[in-house]
């Protein structure tokens, strides 16, 4: 009778178990993040209740923590950033996929990579010392929006490119065969096909813009209590507040800042989830056709 049992099955199983544990780390860490920072933010919620989210006054000295201006600031700067970045990113993505001859495409990709590779703190430094000081643009929602726009352009562009490239060549050829100009072809074949995915790409950019801390912290102006549509006003955003006020915060203050982080966490996760879902669905639909 042949002995066909394995000797090294034990090592094999251990390896599989180790690999599974490593994969499970992702879930563990995310779960831990959610639990621990929520817990640490409890003190301020006990103090302010839901007024934390609706209050407009943020005054650590008085123990008052109303986060609304910062939520507004985050949203406002993100919208400014998107307004600036999306047309540029789309234009760039369309250029790279529809207009550029293959020889130029490679350098364009490198350009994007270089832009994405500059650390955000360096952009922040440039923003503070050059953009706001030297060019005298000051610190404001607008300045922050500009810096954020520069930083999210690479991600929106590269994702848009991927989505656009799934346009079936048949659709494009069909439009061209009807005598359409290049722009008309883009409108007829590329946009309808990619619209969903592009929305997703933009939303991912939105998520990035909202979470970007350092650059915003440096140029947004750190003003309190401003809910305004005046983009030139100094303002504040959630991540900026956390970064700027942490150093000298007492315990309750710290828990308030952590509460801001929880809020930011939830918002960015929701946005990213939606965005990823939209992009994936659009890509799948694209490949199906």
């Amino acid at each position: 009778m042949l002995a066909l049992q394995g000797h090294r099955a034990y090592a094999d199983r251990t390896f599989r178990w180790a690999a599974a544990s490593a994969a499970a780390l992702v879930l563990l860490i995310l779960g831990l993040i959610a639990i621990t920072i929520t817990q640490r933010s409890m003190p301020v919620f006990r103090q302010m209740g839901l007024g934390f989210f609706t209050g407009t006054r943020w005054s650590p000295a008085d123990g008052l923590y109303g986060a609304l201006p910062f939520v507004w600031g985050t949203a406002f700067t993100a919208v400014i950033a998107l307004a600036l970045a999306v047309p540029v990113s789309l234009g760039m993505a369309l250029f790279m996929t529809q207009v550029a001859p293959p020889a130029i495409r490679k350098p364009m990709v490198y350009l994007m990579d270089l832009l994405a590779g500059v650390p955000s703190v360096v952009f922040g430094l440039w923003g503070v010392l050059v953009l706001s000081q030297y060019f005298n643009l000051g610190r404001s929602f607008l300045t922050a929006g500009v810096i954020l726009a520069i930083m999210i352009i690479p991600i929106i562009t590269s994702l848009s490119r991927e989505v656009i490239e799934t346009t079936p060549p048949g659709d494009k050829e069909g439009a061209l065969a009807l005598g359409a100009t290049r722009w008309e072809m883009i409108g007829a074949a590329v946009f309808p096909h990619s619209a969903g995915g592009l929305v997703g790409a933009v939303m991912l950019g939105l998520g990035r813009a909202m979470g970007e801390t350092i650059a915003a912290a440096l140029v947004i102006g750190s003003a309190l209590g401003q809910i305004t549509l005046n983009a030139f006003a100094a303002g504040n955003s959630m991540p900026a507040v956390i970064a700027n006020e942490w150093g000298e915060a007492d315990d309750l203050h710290k828990s308030a800042l952590i509460a801001l982080a929880v809020t930011l966490f939830i918002i960015t996760i929701v946005v990213n989830l939606l965005a990823t879902g939209i992009v994936q669905r659009s890509m799948k639909r694209g490949q199906g056709s």
């Binding site: 094999d12 490593a22 250029f95 207009v99 500059v118 360096v122 290049r182």
Partner: protein, 301 residues
């Protein structure tokens, strides 16, 4: 009856020259806008590089290698070098983070692609990894503050943990991409020789996917080296050299840049530019090496 174009019926040679019309003008304008977009993108990049080079070169290379070796002046207004401790700090923190994140990330991706393809656990992990890449780095920093710094104080290692959490999903994603590219028939050949699955992964699959894994990981490292927010809550801002990973506050280039950017002293600002140049050079170098590996994969095919 359908009217045929005049050129077909008239018998004269067809006129195929380009026509000027609002359609073609519109298309040309749009194309022009697209090209303009490229310049708009290039502009800030050029501007930043210009500033960093312009203001940083003088600071960083005056009296070389002073800037890279000397300690940070503890009084901000004092002019002069250096950023030595920050450079060491960045290397320590990023290096340790890499040692944690890359093996774990590769192992995790191995599970996702080799063992658990399609099962619910894998799909959940993959999804959550994507979610994790979107977690703002400041949230990660505060997380580490709560679980580590509060308990163990400031140290380089705390920063490494934070960066490792940021890098992990990126490494998993990149590795899984590379594993997908390893042709299945290589695995089959190995199984047919009576090799166990774990051994097949370690001796056939991973070596085949290695250049791509290295390149993807290096890109994650380059990004991590530039992170500031997570380090603010874990590492501290020392001015002296601290080669110890686990003890005592440390510092890093990104922290120094952030701190000095808002300083009103020109000397501190100068040091910030020098540090920025150093950081950009470092990330550029790492990215370059990553590209070399990518090229190596391309040449092999």
């Amino acid at each position: 009856m359908i009217e045929l174009a005049e050129t077909v019926t008239s018998g004269a040679p067809p006129d195929l020259t380009a026509k000027r019309s609002w359609r073609s003008v519109k298309s040309a304008t749009m194309t022009g806008l697209m090209v303009a977009a490229v310049f708009v993108v290039a502009l800030p990049l050029v501007a930043v590089v210009w500033s960093v080079l312009g203001r940083g070169l003088a600071v960083a290379f005056r009296g070389f290698p002073d800037f890279f070796i000397q300690e940070i002046p503890s009084v901000a207004r004092r002019a002069g070098p250096g950023m030595g401790p920050a450079i060491l700090g960045t290397l320590l923190v990023t290096g340790a983070a890499t040692l944690i994140a890359v093996p774990l990330g590769v192992l995790g991706a191995v599970y996702l692609h080799e063992y658990g393809v399609g099962n619910r656990f894998s799909r959940l992990v993959r999804f959550m990894a994507t979610v994790m890449t979107g977690v703002p780095s400041i949230v990660m920093g505060l997380f580490i503050y709560v679980v580590w710094t509060l308990r163990f104080g400031y140290s380089a290692f705390g920063g490494s943990l934070a960066l490792a959490c940021l890098m992990l999903p990126v490494v998993i994603g990149a590795t899984e991409q590379m594993l997908k590219l390893v042709p299945h028939h290589l695995r089959e050949a190995s199984y047919a020789l009576g090799t166990s699955k774990s051994r097949t992964i370690l001796t056939v699959v991973l070596p085949a996917a290695l250049p791509g894994i290295v390149s993807g990981s290096l890109l994650a490292v380059a990004r991590a080296a530039g992170e500031t927010a997570p380090l603010l809550f874990a590492v501290g801002a020392a001015t002296e050299y601290n080669p110890h990973l686990f003890e005592e506050a440390n510092t890093a280039l990104s922290i120094q840049i952030f701190g000095n950017a808002t300083s009103s002293f020109v000397a501190a600002q100068d040091r910030a530019w020098g540090a920025a140049l150093t950081l950009v050079l470092l990330t550029f170098l790492i990215t370059l090496v990553a590209r070399v590996f990518t090229a190596r994969i391309a040449s092999r095919r």
